[in-house]
């Protein structure tokens, strides 16, 4: 199934993304997942194929379109490429770039957006710290003014594309405690030294590199401040809804792939002299999977449309994320079950998807934090 909002443009775009994935991802998916990394050259190829810049304005090197277009490109790349890690790694600018475009000066936008969207520079967003991710307002990494620079001290945890990103959109504390003391800096590794303390080993998302980063008197020019001092928390928050819709879309794509794999397997696999689809329990499993995917897709579709219409969607985006992550975990678990012993083996795609799925109730705001958001906005 496709999203209800899709037009001919989305259909054509899906075909492009499919062709890109067939040529540049699918043949290498397993290799990259096992290696924990995909080649840097893929950013350039994705930019040339017009898939990297979807959802970003043409004026800054993007391909135009909005989140609805970006969502179908990501879905098609997951469905065809079958490496979620590659797609999310390739997409880390999806959280790193919007703060620059929303709060940056014209000069900052020109300096970073073009090279990132042309696939020349890799970008990351660094908010989370080892001491806590949900409670963003208490982050501890400090930035002290020193003439025309900031000196940054501290560390960041779980940073997607952190080992090789040149451009790191980083939340730091310039003022007192609480969210009012947070500012957002663009740390450019070509001029500022940032150490990778660890390349982290993860449960899923293997092809996407994740790092712990550390800053020791890292000198960052004050011209790299986004907006004003103290606006960092607000700048980060402005992209939360988009990020959560995007993660919901990821879940729909992953579940759709797991479902397709499981259905194909159930049609082929024999047990007790019959195809697995000849057992009512299997058919009902597949029916439940398809039903939940359809429901999550419908809600995601609705929130996309409202977001594009510029309605406030913070609460609905949190609901969509929770609906989609629950659905995705369920569907991947059922898919592994249908695969039996093979579902537990690394050679099967569903084994990988099962691990990938576990990230989504944690990353981009946990399931519990989503409920906190909903509770607050619904006024309980």
């Amino acid at each position: 199934m496709t999203y209800l909002f899709e037009t001919d443009d989305h259909t054509a775009l899906r075909a492009q993304a499919r062709r890109f994935a067939e040529r540049h991802i699918t043949p290498f998916a397993l290799e990259w997942e096992e290696a924990g990394e995909f080649p840097r050259a893929l950013y350039r190829l994705a930019a040339e194929a017009g898939v990297l810049g979807v959802g970003y304005p043409e004026a800054y090197g993007g391909s135009g379109g909005d989140i609805s277009h970006a969502l179908v490109v990501a879905e098609e790349m997951v469905l065809v490429g079958k490496s979620v890690g590659t797609v999310v790694g390739l997409g880390s600018h999806g959280i790193a770039l919007p703060p620059i475009l929303a709060a940056g000066t014209e000069d900052q936008k020109q300096r970073y957006a073009g090279p990132i969207l042309r696939g020349e520079l890799v970008s990351a967003l660094a908010v989370t710290e080892a001491g806590g991710g949900s409670d963003v307002a208490s982050l501890a990494t400090r930035a002290e003014r020193n003439n025309d620079s900031y000196l940054v001290d501290g560390s960041k945890m779980f940073i997607t594309s952190g080992t090789r990103a040149e451009i790191i959109t980083t939340a730091v504390r310039t003022g007192g405690p609480g969210h009012g003391g947070i500012s957002m800096l663009v740390i450019d590794r070509r001029e500022s030294e940032v150490a990778v303390s660890r390349k982290l080993k993860k449960m899923g998302w293997w092809a996407s590199d994740t790092a712990e980063l550390s800053f020791a008197e890292t000198r960052v020019p004050i011209v790299n401040l986004l907006g004003n001092e103290g606006e960092g928390f607000l700048i980060a928050m402005r992209n939360f809804a988009t990020e959560r819709i995007f993660l919901a879309g990821n879940c729909v794509a992953i579940a759709e792939l797991a479902y397709r794999e499981a259905l194909a397997y159930a049609r082929e696999r024999n047990a007790f002299g019959k195809k697995l689809t000849a057992f009512q329990v299997t058919r009902h499993k597949l029916a439940d999977m398809a039903t939940r995917i359809a429901a999550a897709r419908a809600l995601t579709s609705e929130v996309v449309v409202r977001h594009v219409r510029e309605e406030p969607v913070t609460s609905l985006a949190a609901m969509a994320k929770n609906t989609a992550t629950d659905m995705c975990s369920f569907v991947c678990d059922q898919a592994v079950q249908i695969f039996g012993g093979y579902g537990y083996m690394r050679e099967s795609v569903v084994e990988r998807l099962y691990r990938d799925a576990r990230l989504y109730p944690i990353g981009g705001g946990t399931r519990e934090i989503m409920n906190e958001v909903i509770s607050k906005l619904e006024g309980f």
Binding site: A12, R19, S63, G64, H69
Partner: protein
């Protein structure tokens, strides 16, 4: 140079296991369709011949794509426009009312109207693998033809040097334009096409180019004409009719043998290969 490229939509070859035959006819319901890959190579070739790779936005020629089919093929034509083709023509028809000969005759009428310098086709479509249209069209037009082009070099857009892979080597031939050329897979190699506009050393990315979202949106504004097959030919009768189709017989399950001795025995008595 003005180039005409006919396109056909085919059932995705990846669907082969979903094909059903009902009462001797292939049942296409539920199948996914995509542009015939060789036709996509022809569009790519045409674009490379009509641009300078250093600035692909400035068109240095015209590429007209044409397809025979129902509205279902519009997606494919729009896709070709999005990658860079300049105009599209859809000739309204259904597959069962077409054969290679009728398509070639209709294309002849379009060629007479459009007066292209070159007709570029895929070497064959991957459904029926008939490999007829290009050759018939050249014959009907009385134009020179070169089939299965693996590379093309334009000589000032007056003639093309076409190389075709043959047993034991490559055959190079020169055709004076106007001509009919059909292309093979190798044409989309980085150096498959040498146009008079692009630096000879330029290496294209392997394969068919992608269309960015902006181009997809802009393609909707490009000229798109529709016509009926009877606008082109007075006699729409077919020379080829399909009798019936049947699926290959299902493979029987294999057998398991317990010992090498049993295997040897079966190879002797049943397979009779020893």
């Amino acid at each position: 140079m003005k180039i005409l490229v006919p396109l056909k939509q085919v059932a995705d070859p990846d669907n082969a296991n979903k094909i059903k035959v009902t009462a001797g006819k292939i049942d296409t319901t539920g199948l996914a369709f995509k542009p015939n890959p060789f036709d996509e190579y022809a569009v790519e070739t045409a674009l490379r011949l009509t641009e300078n790779a250093a600035n692909t936005k400035a068109r240095l020629g015209e590429v007209v794509v044409v397809a025979f089919g129902t509205k279902d093929v519009d997606v494919m034509l729009r896709g070709a426009l999005a990658t860079g083709a300049d105009r599209a023509i859809r000739v309204d028809a259904t597959d069962d009312a077409l054969d290679g000969d009728l398509v070639a005759r209709a294309l002849k009428a379009i060629v007479e109207k459009e007066a292209p310098d070159l007709v570029l086709l895929g070497k064959q479509q991957v459904e029926g693998d008939s490999n007829q249209v290009g050759q018939l069209l050249a014959e009907y037009l009385g134009w020179p033809q070169a089939t299965f082009a693996g590379s093309i070099k334009s000589e000032a857009d007056k003639a093309l040097v076409v190389s075709r892979e043959v047993d034991g080597g490559t055959l190079n031939l020169k055709v004076t334009l106007p001509a009919v050329v059909s292309v093979d897979l190798r044409i989309v190699n980085p150096h498959g096409v040498k146009s008079m506009h692009t630096a000879a050393a330029h290496a294209y990315p392997e394969g068919v180019r992608f269309a960015a979202l902006m181009a997809i949106m802009a393609a909707k504004k490009k000229p798109f004409a529709e016509m009926k097959i009877t606008d082109l030919v007075s006699d729409a009768s077919l020379k080829v009719t399909y009798g019936s189709a049947e699926l290959p017989p299902a493979r029987k399950a294999g057998i398991k043998v317990k010992t090498v001795a049993e295997l040897v025995e079966k190879l002797k008595t049943e397979a009779k290969v020893l």
